[in-house]
Subunit: 193 residues, 2 copies
């Protein structure tokens, strides 16, 4: 069935892009892996870049989709940040290849698509900065907190995750998320009197 | 002069490995960039993997070389961690391509060399874990601190740096290092009475 074939192509491309990188993966490589001719593969996809684009776009929308509702909820800032990191880490843990491609291979997209990704990354980083700003305004977080750098610390902890996370390891995604968030939250909390 | 030629080859390889990845860079690509024949390039290098190996090995030894003396010094744990992160971030900021290759392309080395890198990475991570353990023992850091996860948070903040650091940006490497360390140190410090 055509839809299954497309799924197979995407699944193979996903593994190869993640393992050896987009520039080193040719449509011929993907076809060979599936015992197809490169020509008949083009009946299912537009171009190699279109496959990359679909993976990156889907990942971007997934991250935004799970985190945006939490970011705009009426929860206290610390709880919000905790829930946002949990949601993000769960997406990464369930989609390690997609996360790797989203984080490292997106730069091989064409200019317009790269611009789209950059806008979404800024939007996404903004969710974290704004929650930290809310916490500074509410007095939960220290007044001198640098929201940009604190957000970058949160994002770094999450973005490095695909490099070391092992689904068979001792820590669940939730435990990893909570461990990082707990340290960072304590690191930016307002002085306790 | 032969040595200059070798330097040019490494410099070109470094840029290409970092920008498009090791698997997508051929010896022919490197030669073409230098207006050389692939054959005459082999007069200066053993193999493509040898070039990768030399870059990765040098980076590993550089990170260990700047951080090990601090890690084994008699400084208080918090000061030590601050100095270690500063030293690491300065190396990254001065060698962005090497850092990227060390962090992402090393996995394309052969098995024995990968094992060597893994040993060095574990050693390096150990420096951070041990300083955090020292801080727990001395009572500077909270008794319940998970040294492994705290070290991973420090390493994540440093390892994500090549993806966003801009030498022309507003923050110096020292300011970036200090901002991350300050938050993490406050996040793991012992309760203040």
């Amino acid at each position: 069935m055509a839809i299954d074939r497309k799924e197979q192509i995407y699944s193979t491309a996903r593994t190869m892009f993640s393992e050896r990188g987009y520039p080193a993966t040719t449509v011929r490589d993907i076809a060979r892996e599936l015992n197809m001719q490169a020509g008949s593969l083009y009946a299912h996809i537009g171009s190699k870049e279109d496959v990359l684009w679909e993976i990156v776009e889907r990942a971007a929308l997934q991250f935004i989709g799970v985190v945006a509702p939490i970011a705009s909820s009426q929860t206290p800032p610390a709880d919000k940040l905790r829930a946002m990191v949990r949601a993000h880490v769960l997406v990464v843990a369930d989609n390690l290849d997609d996360a790797t491609i989203f984080l490292h291979e997106w730069k091989f997209l064409g200019e317009e698509r790269r611009a789209w990704v950059n806008e979404r990354r800024n939007l996404y980083e903004g969710f974290y900065r704004r929650v930290i700003d809310e916490g500074i305004d509410s007095g939960d977080f220290a007044a001198h907190t640098d929201a940009k750098m604190a957000a970058l610390l949160v994002l770094s902890s999450m973005n490095w995750l695909p490099q070391w996370y092992n689904p068979a390891g001792p820590l669940s995604p939730e435990e990893i998320a909570d461990s990082f968030t707990q340290t960072i939250l304590k690191g930016i909390q307002a002085p306790q009197y």
